[in-house]
């Protein structure tokens, strides 16, 4: 499997994006940071495929410089 970078969120993408932001409402930067970490770990485990996860890490890192 390779990382799917095509659109995959159907009609819910705007809603999910906003739900994610809402969940961070009222959190300190520290709390947000820990919540993000938990989120990443949960999704990483769900995906399970090391190649996909490594690809995602590399792309996320590269996106910093974009």
């Amino acid at each position: 499997m390779t990382l799917n970078t095509e659109f995959n969120l159907g009609t819910q993408s705007d809603s999910l994006f906003n739900e994610l932001l809402d969940a961070h409402q009222g959190l300190s930067l520290d709390q947000s940071s820990q919540m993000n970490a938990a989120m990443i770990l949960l999704l990483m485990n769900h995906i399970g495929d090391p190649a996909v996860i490594r690809d995602a890490i590399a792309r996320a890192r590269a996106a910093l410089d974009a």
Partner: protein, 537 residues
């Protein structure tokens, strides 16, 4: 139960200083820690003589290495002290991890039965060294153990090695063919050779204390992240023989070692851990640690082994256990080279295989260290996220890293292996150390497969396969495990067949599987053996 009594070993003036002719040692071993002593005994089992010199005359001061893994116990069994260690040691296999005062995870290190040795025993390093010293005396013609002999420097050329040694009676030079640098983490020889000890230093300080107390804590490894009795840090509690408990407390990077070691500071901390039980302090030390190794372990005739070659943090019990892997890997190779049956290039495989092993140990112990003391900021966020998720989600429990304990090193990419040409759908894989299993002799005696495999090259037939001894090369023993008739051993519980399948297996003297076939030709066996032993032309 009586606590361990340190009995100094006798210093004897070496023959070189009493006017007798000095002997040339096939192997000079510098350092009588567990690794140097283990190497001396291992070489002796192969008939190779050594002179062991140590600057001290007592066993390890403080318990230091206490957790001995199953694989090390199998090696110690081959060396003749396995049963003694098992009898004295505290057997355990369960580890529990707490966050605050709540258990988040526990792990069983040996879930299946049918092995002679348990996953781990706890036994203080001073006992292990004492048993090894006593075992050395079983080989009076092969092991010459010299205490209070400090090596100042060593040298070598094409024809041999020498060590310049200082004793209470003066200095002398000892000549030999090979020299094993087993002089520990602060190796003087490593410095003399100017070898770069690359890796990382961790700033975190830890307090380690052995306390003697009457308590009914179970024989388990208990590890806490941020316990209420030691807020914000981690703690470890582990049982040893003689009612001694090991307590390890993280202190943070700013702790002052000298201050922390003072009884008035140690005692209140321990009191909180043990909840008011009366105790006596046996040994206290404050340490920080390194994860480092030298690039190459073999430098012509001088070979680095144990802590002199590599050091790790203690949380995976990979220091002493990793060093015993070195002993196991090196000694048969050196013996074959000294006896002239193997080419000197066999030593290259010690370098390759044990560098691989050291890297595995360094990687694992570095990962644990990072999990235990993350950098402030995002590292701490991820670490704490794992701990929080672990309360409700099974996956995160497995990610909690409170030590990944020493497991046998897999040599699956070793040059000494021959690739499988037949398919085997079993747990055993080429390059793995053999899995133990119960077996029975024709006279009804119960025994273990590992003991029968022993310490030489062995051809093992399992699951009904047979071997025609007439077609075999020299220097190899044959072991048939099956029905128990016709000279074979009985596969008492069917575990040999289950773990190995039906086939013929070439086992190295360090009990790793080098090659296997369903039905080999004599040529298959001869060429696999030649490849594995680098048989001298």
């Amino acid at each position: 139960m009586a606590r361990y009594q340190y009995e100094p070993f006798d210093y004897v003036t070496p023959p070189e200083l009493t006017g007798q002719a000095g002997t040339r040692a096939p192997v000079i071993i510098v350092g009588a820690g567990p690794i140097g002593l283990g190497a001396a005994v291992d070489l002796a089992t192969h008939g190779i003589a050594s002179v062991v010199v140590d600057d001290n005359n007592v066993v390890s001061v403080g318990s230091r290495a206490i957790c001995w893994a199953k694989r090390s116990l199998e090696i110690f069994d081959r060396l003749g002290i396995g049963d003694r260690m098992l009898e004295k040691g505290v057997t355990w296999k369960l580890g529990r991890v707490f966050r605050g005062d709540q258990e988040v995870y526990n792990f069983d290190l040996l879930p299946d039965d049918g092995h002679k040795f348990p996953a781990f025993i706890n036994l203080q390093q001073y006992y292990v060294e004492q048993y090894l010293v006593e075992r050395c005396t079983d080989f009076p013609d092969l092991i010459d153990l010299r205490f209070k002999n400090r090596v100042q420097s060593v040298g070598q050329d094409e024809t041999g090695v020498w060590a310049d040694i200082e004793t209470p009676d003066g200095s002398y030079r000892l000549d030999g063919d090979f020299l094993l640098a087993c002089d520990g983490a602060n190796s003087r020889l490593r410095r003399q050779f100017g070898l770069d000890f690359g890796g990382r230093y961790f700033e975190e300080r830890f307090l380690i204390a052995d306390v003697e107390m009457q308590a009914d804590f179970p024989s388990e490894r208990w590890f806490w992240f941020t316990p209420t009795f030691h807020p914000g840090q981690s703690a470890l509690l582990h049982k040893q023989p003689d009612n001694i408990y090991r307590i390890d407390l993280q202190l943070g990077p700013d702790a002052d070692p000298e201050e922390e070691k003072k009884p008035e500071n140690v005692i209140p901390r321990i009191e909180k851990v043990v909840g008011g039980r009366p105790f006596k302090l046996d040994w206290v030390s404050v340490y920080s640690f390194n994860c480092r190794r030298i690039d190459r372990f073999v430098h012509d005739r001088v070979i680095f082994i144990g802590d002199s070659a590599h050091v790790v943090s203690p949380f995976g019990a990979r220091g002493g256990n990793g060093g015993m892997h070195d002993v196991d890997n090196l000694c048969w190779k050196l013996a074959h080279i000294i006896n002239g049956t193997s080419d000197a290039s066999l030593l290259d495989s010690y370098d390759a295989e044990r560098v691989h092993g050291a890297d595995e140990n360094i990687r694992n112990s570095s990962w644990t260290s990072r999990f235990m003391s993350p950098e402030p900021g995002i590292e701490m966020s991820f670490r704490n996220a794992v701990l929080s998720l672990a309360v409700d989600t099974p996956f995160a429990r497995r990610m909690v890293n409170a030590g990944r304990l020493s497991v046998p090193c897999q040599l699956d990419s070793s040059d000494l292996n021959s690739h499988d040409s037949d398919e085997f759908d079993v747990a055993m894989q080429t390059g793995m150390v053999c899995l133990d299993a119960p077996v029975r002799h024709a006279d009804g005696r119960d025994d273990w497969l590992m003991r029968q495999i022993g310490g030489g090259f062995c051809l093992l037939a399992t699951g009904g396969a047979t071997i025609d001894p007439a077609t075999l090369p020299d220097g190899i023993t044959v072991l048939e495990i099956g029905s128990g008739r016709d000279g074979s051993l009985e596969d008492t519980e069917g575990l040999v067949a289950a773990r190995y399948g039906r086939g013929v297996h070439l086992i190295r003297p360090d009990q790793h599987l080098a090659a296997r076939w369903v039905a080999p030709t004599p040529g298959d066996i001869t060429s696999a053996l030649a490849r594995c032993a680098r048989i001298a032309a």
